[in-house]
């Protein structure tokens, strides 16, 4: 094959490539040829969540309760469950995958085009986490030491005695009540309790109040102690008699501090939603009673539940849903058929919803949201428009600069740059058909625009070199060859450093950085091809001796080429 023939084939290949990527990048041009349009407009760029709107969530899975050999299974199960839930809500192509960071198991959920961020989050987080717990040691942490309690009560009693003394001296009772009473129900009305029959109050209080020697308008001369604290009582008036005797009284309460009831603490049993086979709505005996939720465990769950009920006979077993206790029935007998019932005062709708959610699957491990990036669809659209505009303006300005400064060579570089853009867009569009699908994000567009600026660098290097060689007296074609040859090491060495940093950025891994780095690395590689191979083919094909008399076209003054005695 002659050199010329080879060049012609190369040139034809470039034209063909330009046509293909041109059509793929801008299919609208073929709109009048529907058959072609249907083909070339099919590949679409896969837009990132920041450009089409959506939510990216990163969850931490708490696998501490799970045997380490089963962690992988559990993570897979979480993924499956969330997939089912998300699919049920009709989100297009959700992305759900498990990752690891150090020893932490994480789950990433990406939902595109979601309008309501909070609702989206809820449909994942509301996945019920069902857990059975048994009674553990009573919680002692809120207990107050007895001596502290005694001290506080002695002070309270002294305070009550002081108020009583003041009331007996004739100070306004209702004002004293307003200022001091610790009975929230009567405090604001000056301690007024209204007319009450015998038996309304606690025994100690009643006994004093209905003591016949206690006269209307008097303040009882001693403090009355009840379970609530110390009362200062004033009898206002009485009406009726016998069983209908009603007494109108007022009181001031100084409350007594008591030991808080020890909380029954429930501890995990290892039985959880992952052992669930199914759930259904049932009714207690007759159809008229409250609906309840029946659970059927799998084999492992049946065994566990039998053990738990055997161990806890006569004690409570609590059923927790998403960390909230929903019922804590007392175990009557050992249950070995793997069936349990939750009675939680459900309405029929609540019971149905719970059953549905339980059947869709309970999460085998609890998850916590640790990172979220969400962008509302309209904002994504704005970002897309703005960044594309920035890209087009940047591209045009670079082309204008190249045309002004390098004239004919600049034109070639611009054509190469347009082909570069076309190839990049096509790679983005076609990657969807390969296992290495590339998602275009906002930083990705920024990276792309940046590579437009960098892509012409190789051409600038070559052209500067070519001009230099022309000035040294070489003929133009020869100079172009020399320019490409000599500039190549610089182009290669320079781009390797960009590739090193881009590769480190990809390793770095965060969404923003990754999108940017991937476009940068592809851009650098593609631009090396377009700036060197394509522009060289174009130049070799088009340039000829005709340019020797039109050197202004490549921006070299004719006189410069002849004044080179020093270097020739």
């Amino acid at each position: 094959m002659t050199l010329k023939k080879k060049l012609q084939i190369k040139f034809a290949a470039v034209i063909l490539l330009a046509l293909v990527v041109g059509l793929l990048s801008y299919p609208q041009i073929t709109r009048k040829v529907p058959k072609l349009y249907n083909i070339v407009s099919k590949p679409k760029i896969n837009l990132g969540l920041d450009l089409q709107g959506g939510i990216h969530m990163e969850y931490k899975a708490d696998t501490s309760q799970i045997d380490s050999s089963k962690v992988a299974d559990a993570m897979q199960a979480v993924q499956d469950v969330i997939s089912r839930r998300v699919n049920a809500f009709g989100v297009a192509e959700p992305v759900i995958y498990a990752t690891k960071s150090g020893n932490e198991n994480r789950l990433v959920v990406e939902l595109a085009g979601v309008k309501d961020i909070d609702q989206a989050k809820q449909m994942i987080q509301e996945t019920p986490f069902l857990e059975f717990k048994e009674e553990g040691q009573p919680d002692q942490t809120n207990q107050i030491p007895q001596d502290v309690l005694d001290q506080q009560n002695a002070e309270a009693k002294q305070k009550a005695q002081d108020i009583l003394d003041r009331a007996l001296k004739g100070e306004d009772f209702s004002q004293l009540a307003k200022d001091n009473s610790e009975d929230p129900g009567s405090k604001d009305s000056g301690g007024d309790l209204g007319f009450q029959k015998k038996g309304t109050f606690v025994t100690e209080f009643d006994q004093v109040l209905f003591d016949p020697s206690f006269k209307d308008g008097e303040v009882y001369p001693t403090l009355v102690e009840s379970q609530f604290g110390w009362h200062i009582i004033k009898k206002i008036e009485e009406r009726g008699d016998g069983d209908n005797l009603e007494i109108h009284a007022a009181h001031i309460l100084i409350a007594k501090k008591t030991q808080p009831q020890p909380q029954t603490a429930f501890v995990s049993t290892g039985l959880s939603g992952k052992n669930l086979k199914g759930a259904s709505v049932t009714y207690q005996s007759q159809g008229l009673s409250e609906p309840q939720v029946s659970l059927q465990f799998d084999d492992e769950g049946t065994k566990l539940f039998a053990d738990i009920t055997k161990k806890n006979l006569g004690k409570q077993v609590a059923i927790y849903l998403d960390g909230q206790i929903i019922s804590a029935p007392t175990v009557q007998s050992e249950i070995d058929n793997g069936q349990a019932v939750i009675t939680g005062h459900f309405t029929l709708d609540q019971a149905k919803e719970l059953v549905q959610r339980l059947n869709e699957g309970a999460l085998p491990v609890p998850i916590t949201l640790i990172g979220q990036q969400s962008v509302e669809a309209s904002l994504g659209q704005i970002s897309l428009t703005q960044s594309l505009k920035a890209g087009i303006i940047g591209l045009c300005l670079v082309i204008i600069f190249m045309l002004i400064y390098y004239r004919f060579l600049g034109l070639i570089a611009s054509v190469a740059l347009l082909i570069y853009t076309g190839i990049m867009v096509s790679i983005f569009k076609l990657s969807g058909y390969t296992p290495w699908s590339i998602t275009l994000t906002l930083p990705g567009i920024a990276g792309f625009v940046l590579t437009v600026g960098m892509a012409v660098d190789a051409n600038i290097l070559i052209f500067e070199r070519t001009k230099e060689e022309v000035r040294r007296g070489r003929r133009i074609l020869n100079a172009v060859d020399e320019g490409f040859k000599r500039a190549w090491t610089s182009i290669r060495d320079g781009n390797v450093s960009s590739i090193i940093t881009a590769a480190i950025l990809i390793e770095f891994g965060t969404g923003f950085v990754k999108g940017f780095a991937i476009t940068l690395i592809i851009g650098v590689l593609v631009s090396m091809f377009t700036a060197v191979m394509i522009s060289r083919t174009l130049l070799n094909f088009i340039l000829g001796d005709w340019i020797e008399n039109k050197m202004w076209l490549i921006g070299v003054k004719k006189k410069d080429t002849n004044l080179n005695e020093k270097n020739v």
Binding site: D118, G394, G453, M454, S490, S497
Partner: protein, 301 residues
């Protein structure tokens, strides 16, 4: 032949200029530090679109008062939008915060919510430092390797050292500029800033390599009639137009992103813009100047 600039004779001024900027940047960083955003501090940033008129910052703060949000910052922004940031440990707070707001201002829409838990931000911080470390080491090794054949009169690893000093200079000044912007204009730095720094590293070295490459070529061609500083100066002159033009095209595109690209990548573009500008300057005036300085020291011995 075109006019030759005697760049090398002006080294002194370049050193004074760069030295001043570097020291200023270091002072900024020591005194003010950088203003980290939630990528590195953990917390929530919420951009909310109000349906009606924009409430005052105080009104929004009052609305959120019950939640006791730590380091709450409320900023109004264009088109009836408001930006809210606070330190948060749990995602529940985010939902509460927005429900308080949408209860008070019906029709409010969450345009963007970024939430980073402390463990994630810690991880990002560590990763960022490692990424910068690996990039610097990788580039140093690469430059030393690329120039392994040139060992006279200046050894190849010294080219690497020169390139690394130039890129530390670029990165320090860029960081200094953002320290300044952070202190006076509240500009925050997050993961995008780190990405920008790494890109600047790559770009700065790219530029330096082109100049070094020409020096290498001229040294191999040079039969010993020109002295080393003259060879460096000639190489600089020969690559000057290219260095400036390349940077111009990159700066043009970055300006386009900065001006038209929208809020979310504005400061990313700005960081690159500052870094690329200084990267070009340093590859001309610092990296090659270092070679000459090293050479002069060697010959004095």
């Amino acid at each position: 032949m075109k006019k030759m600039f005697n760049i090398i004779s002006k080294i002194k001024y370049a050193y004074i200029f760069s030295g001043t900027l570097t020291i200023l940047s270091l002072i900024f960083l020591l005194v003010w530090g950088l203003k980290f955003d939630i990528d590195f501090t953990g917390g929530t940033r919420m951009q909310i679109q109000m349906a009606n008129n924009l409430p005052s910052n105080q009104e929004v703060t009052d609305t959120l008062q019950d939640l006791n949000l730590k380091s709450l910052i409320v900023q109004p922004s264009a088109n009836n939008q408001v930006l809210i940031r606070y330190a948060s440990e749990d995602d529940k707070v985010n939902q509460q915060a927005f429900s308080e707001i949408s209860a008070k201002y019906p029709g409010a829409v969450q345009l963007r919510v970024d939430y980073t838990n402390a463990s994630v931000s810690q991880e990002l911080k560590t990763n960022s430092l490692w990424a910068i470390f690996y990039a610097v080491v990788g580039i140093m090794i690469y430059v030393a390797w690329a120039f392994r054949k040139v060992s006279r009169p200046v050894e190849s690893w010294k080219y690497g050292a020169g390139a690394v000093i130039a890129l530390i200079h670029d990165v320090l000044i860029t960081t200094g500029v953002f320290s300044f912007l952070g202190h006076f204009y509240g500009v925050e730095v997050g993961v995008p800033f780190i990405a920008a720094l790494l890109t600047i590293l790559g770009f700065s070295v790219h530029d330096t390599i082109v100049v070094y490459d020409r020096t290498r070529e001229n040294l191999l061609k040079n039969s010993g009639k020109d002295k080393f500083p003259e060879v460096v100066n000639r190489s600089l002159n020969e690559t000057l137009v290219r260095s400036i033009n390349t940077s111009l095209t990159v700066i043009i595109t970055l300006l386009a992103i900065y001006i038209f690209g929208g809020e979310s990548i504005k400061y990313f573009a700005l960081a690159l813009l500052v870094g690329v500008t200084f990267g070009t300057y340093s590859s001309i005036f610092i990296a090659s100047a270092m070679l000459v300085t090293i050479y002069n020291r060697q010959s004095k011995k």
